[in-house]
């Protein structure tokens, strides 16, 4: 399957006017014929767009997984939907990183739980004492 949008230099969400002008400007008569058949009839275009979305996703997946030259990825599809490989970090490595980060935080919390709890206790005791003192002052001052 070819990517008609790319070949007509359109975006997949292009409206009918844009498609019309692109069709009139297109000089390849075979391409124009095909694009007119597929893109100007709404329910055909809907089916085409659906498959187009899946194929773009598969193209993206293949680029990220390094499968753009796979034995099963050939012809027009491979030409039109392959992207240059991006060097994004692998999802699995990212997951492992995130989990190890979470473990680190958890362990740190377990280790320093005693001192932290003491500090928290002192802070709450101090604030309660202050509040009580303030209330006492107010009650003494009013009569």
């Amino acid at each position: 399957m070819r990517d008609l949008y790319q070949r007509l230099s359109l975006t997949p969400g292009a409206d009918d006017n844009a498609i019309g002008t692109a069709l009139t400007q297109c000089q390849n008569s075979a391409l124009r014929q095909d694009a007119q058949t597929v893109l100007t009839v709404p329910d055909r275009r809907e089916k085409y767009d659906d498959l187009h979305a899946t194929l773009s996703d598969i193209g993206r997946l293949r680029a990220r997984l390094g499968l753009t030259h796979g034995a099963h990825w050939q012809g027009d599809v491979a030409n039109d939907f392959s992207l240059p490989p991006d060097h994004a970090i692998s999802r699995h490595d990212e997951l492992v990183d995130r989990v190890s980060h979470a473990i680190l935080l958890y362990n740190r919390w377990r280790r320093f739980r005693g001192p932290w709890l003491l500090v928290a206790l002192l802070a709450t005791a101090g604030s309660i004492g202050l509040a009580a003192g303030f209330a006492l002052c107010m009650s003494l001052g009013t009569p």
């Binding site: 007509l8 692109a22 000089q27 095909d34 598969i58 999802r91 995130r98």
Partner: protein, 329 residues
């Protein structure tokens, strides 16, 4: 390090007892989601049936939801886990399951054609193995995916293709006729306006000229008598001359039609190559090389078909001009 929260698939994966099973489950759910003519309940039941021997130990609902959303990051993660941890026997069995899920009753959907091939590449299954596996399971050879972007596909698969084509043609005809009619009407109204103006102008002129004409008529009658003598002599001479000229003219026309003026075409060719008239052969060659490099269609091959086609037209023109100049210079 990213501070993003764990995605729903990552959480499922972390809770899973067997990560590979969960990853396989997501990819199989993806295949199921892209199957056509199946209800949601049937999909869930089928997935439960397939995963009876899996040891993931979590609900299927969230996995199905992720597959429906076609969450690219989740699918990528599942693919990575599967590629990392699948033995060759396991990968064959996964392919087996995917094919049965895609073809429970007959046809593989267009989506699944590509998804199955993606899985085969991911699991390093060669095309020969995939084809034989498919043949074993379904009794039919694995067909190539059909081309939805071509006119031929819709001729076969759209039952209303010819009706629609006729309707479109009729619509175009009707539009063309309307445009034609409008044009004709406009022309007619324009002509009428022009005629009215002319008529008005003539009425004025006629009344003025009537007086003028009477004077002129008397003068003309005198002059005409004198001239008749001269004209009779001149006519004889002119006829002789005309015959000679016509013969001469025909010969010239024959020559001209075969022979275009050279100056014009040469200067046009030079203009195409961006040179002033009177450039040398060496300059022409250098200009041609530069222009050919600039406008070669292969440069636009990756951009779009339309740009490439335009470039090839330009390139043809440049090449023709160069060829002509090389012949004549």
């Amino acid at each position: 390090m990213s501070i993003a929260r764990f995605s729903s698939f990552e959480l499922v994966l972390l809770k899973s007892r067997n990560q590979v099973d969960t990853a396989v489950l997501l990819l199989l759910a993806w295949v199921l989601v892209k199957r056509e003519h199946v209800s949601e309940g049937q999909r869930r039941r089928r997935l439960a049936q397939v995963s009876a021997q899996f040891r993931h130990g979590h609900e299927l609902g969230p996995v199905m939801g992720i597959a429906h959303a076609q969450d690219l990051q989740a699918i990528q993660l599942a693919a990575e886990i599967m590629r990392k941890d699948c033995s060759s026997e396991r990968s064959l069995s996964v392919m087996h399951q995917a094919i049965t899920l895609a073809t429970d009753d007959g046809e593989v959907s267009q989506h699944n054609h590509y998804i199955l091939r993606f899985l085969a590449d991911l699991l390093t299954i060669t095309p020969a193995t995939l084809h034989s596996l498919f043949h074993e399971l379904t009794g039919k050879p694995l067909a190539a995916p059909q081309d939805l972007s071509s006119d031929a596909y819709w001729q076969v698969h759209d039952p209303y293709y010819h009706q629609r084509q006729e309707q479109a043609a009729q619509r175009e005809n009707a539009q063309a006729q309307e445009a034609e009619q409008k044009r004709q009407q406009q022309e007619q109204s324009r002509e009428e306006r022009a005629r009215r103006k002319r008529d008005d102008a003539q009425h004025k002129r006629d009344s003025q000229q009537q007086k003028h004409d009477e004077k002129q008529r008397r003068q003309q009658e005198r002059e005409q008598e004198r001239e008749r003598h001269r004209q009779s002599e001149q006519q004889r001479r002119q006829q002789q001359q005309r015959q000679k000229q016509q013969q001469h003219h025909k010969q010239e026309q024959r020559r001209e039609s075969a022979y275009q003026p050279p100056q014009d075409r040469t200067s046009r060719a030079l203009e195409i190559l961006g040179l002033p008239p009177g450039a040398s052969r060496h300059e022409v060659r250098r200009a041609y090389r530069r222009m050919a490099q600039l406008h070669h269609p292969d440069r636009f091959f990756s951009e779009s078909e339309q740009l490439a086609a335009q470039a090839s037209v330009r390139f043809q023109r440049i090449k023709k001009a160069y060829d002509y100049l090389m012949q004549t210079y």
